[in-house]
Amino acid sequence: MRFKGIIILAICLVISLLIVFINPIKINNWERGNNDNLLGMVLGLDLKGGTHLVYSITSTAGEEPTVEDAEGVRKIIDKRVNEFGVSEANVQLLGTPPNKILVQIPSQSGDQISFSFSKNDPNMDDIKNAISSAGLSEFQIEKIEDEYLVTYDQTVDENTSEKIKNNLANSFMVTVMANFSPIRLEGKKEGEDLEFPNVEDIKPLLEESKIAYEELNDLGFGGWEIKLLNFGYSDQSLAEKLLLSLSETKYNLVNLQPEGELNYFVVSGGIQSAKRLIGSTAQLDFRVRECGKEKPEDLDANVWELVRCYDPQYYNEVATGIESKNLTDASPGTVAELSQPVVNVVFDDVGSDIFYEVTDRISRTGDLLSIYLDNEELVSPGADKAISGGRAYIYGKDIDAERAREIAIQLRSGALPAKLDLIQERNVDAVLGSESLNKSLTAGIIGFVLVLIFMITYYKIPGIIASFTLIIYLLFLIAIFKVLPVTLTLSGAAALILSIGFAVDANILISERIKEELIAGRNLLNSITVGFDRAWPSIRDGNISTIITAIVLYWFGSNFSTSIMQGFALTLGIGVLLSMITSFQVNRILVRLITSNNNFIKTNLFIPISKKNTDGEA
């Protein structure tokens, strides 16, 4: 009997030790813990930094949302947050019936800025200068293929990111290669009737469009190299601007290629960008783009082909009737017959029918189907035949794998079925989080050691046993927290420490009972058996009242727009339940183990200091 208890205890101890100290634990798909955190535990936002956002949900009509609306919002936000690479985000509905949504985003990794230049890459030192002169320090930069990745352990605010963007755009020479086709001069003979534009033709064009250039080189045969400096990054690309200013000349612009232009700049992982992402009531819009039909007199045929479907002044758009809800899926992929990335789209029945009509129409007229997200053009594909069945794919020369993924995400994220308003926000910096963690840890250890000292000096042998029980209790608790897993928050840490108090309490109750039985004149072993039996009802009743409070807190916690309550309640509930069991069972096993050695069967080792004198008198 005695050994059975010890064996079970030993097995539990070994398992707990393995769980606590092996990081990470992987068994098939089951994985717990990672090396970054304290003992591999899951840390809450207040201990590792992050953002906690609460939005109220109102239906588009301004009323309380239906349960379906709320669930729809949760799914979409969950998707948005996860697909844009925010790791370990938590999205949950609050309230009964749900009318609020909580989004928690950890900021452990800080922000990441990615950008790339078209050809002509500037050297790394210049890039570093451009970034640090915007006020960023201690960042890491690496180059992956054509893209530069800057990782920063804090959030980059909007001002700084704007500065970095401008610095990058302005510090480097942008070279534009333009090719003009010759014009035929009247009255000249064959062979000498071709003329290319000269400096006097190009210069005024550049000045007129207010584009400052550093150098203008004639490469001969209509080719020109234009070097530009201090050209700010803007959404309208340099190529487009130049195209517009240079195309309306008597010399036809054949092609134009910018080199060294900053053509991509994104700050990701930031709280601000996350907020934008979540709150955006994105609206997908499908329109038929009727390309320009009449070529203006003064435009060259080549240029007309370039602009008739892409310059808003020439085309006209009409609604199709396809709504976001008609698009059931969008995913990046590849198609066997095409050696390039595509975006697969799937429509529902209603969408399929309209999609068939639309593709039938545009395949005959050569028009386009343009898809807008929040009134911003996402992609505008044409169609070569009518597509039935609601399944199609989009491809194009400017759609690479990355772009295909992006388009798919944006198509999928679609429109929210309800309106969101930010009603509560909490941001905790990662630095503050780790400071809090360290301080709580120090405080916890100091408190725990002091308790052990008190227990041992005051209660002697039962105190030592209680101390071991407490250590075993903590070990079990951490193992359980890691396995479940329970997120450790600051208030949870307080609950954990409080539960140590309750565990001590149970141990004290037992020790006191044993002592009383000894004073009452029983022999030691008898006193121990009776002491445990008598202590149990008090331990049970006292702890159950705390467990009831924990349950009420947890239950009500979801009505509050904060996770403090639930974190505290869960930790306290589990802690108290476990302390009740371990302090009783483990204590009993240890007491029996100790009293099996005759050297320890000495009554006065089991009586606390304060009682010595009174005993003498009695």
Binding site: Q154, D157, N159, L498, F556
Partner: protein, 293 residues
Amino acid sequence: MNLLAKRIYLFYFSLIAIIISIFILFIPGLPLGIDFTSGSTITYRWTDQNPTQDQISKSIKNAGFDKSIIQSMGNKEFFIRTTDVGSTGKDRIDAELLEVIGEAPVTLDMNTVGSSVADNTIRNSIIAVFVASLFVMLYIIYAFRNIEQSYLYAIAAILTLIHDVLVVMGLFILISIFIGSVVNSIFIVGILTVIGYSVNDTIVIFDRIRENLTVNKSMEFMNVVNQSVKESITRSLGTSITTSIVIMSMLLFGGQSLRDFLLVLLLGVIVGTYSSIFVASNLLLSWKYGIKK
């Protein structure tokens, strides 16, 4: 020794404590934080510059927020409380701070609570406290179902609990005058924990009374209660000393964020221990003998 010999004075003492606490609850009242009043708090830290409170106050005013409280936390850290900054206000304050002080601070902690949330928090807090008390009371009636008039034990435990909650709140307000504590959602967590703790302590003593009543059937009720209290007192003190040790070490060495919460817990442990010994059993005796004897 008869711990409850002068129980009439203990009675007066608790009564006066309760009356003073209720009075303090109205004037000056609980120092409500943004969880209840709505608004924003921001904690900034500067790396190089050490701004003055005036500079910060000016920046916040420039950003369009007239009412603000600024506290220096030392270490170039400042805590700011103002009205709800909404979605763009924080950016405006940041921009103003950069302009006035010349260095952009790191935002250590930011918290915004809208007014709809605040209203909800007040309502939910009150409901939570009542529901918790109700369930605990039902549990006590159940736990003591085998002895006569078990509801009296439940009522005594609940009255003790109300005593604890009121006195803890009163003491909290008094202390907050000196150290500037505020009441936020976590305060409610603290109060609910105090409820759990208070009842735990009371139950342990009532358990003793229950046990002693069944063992010594012939003994006078007064003596049974007195003996039970005496037997439990070392345990009660032992537990509150150890719990206080951990809470104190959290208060002294832990971070600032939990200070007010830990204060509630510490007060709860002290008051809870006192009341389980002197108030709960006293109430039981009063039922049997009236308050005079």
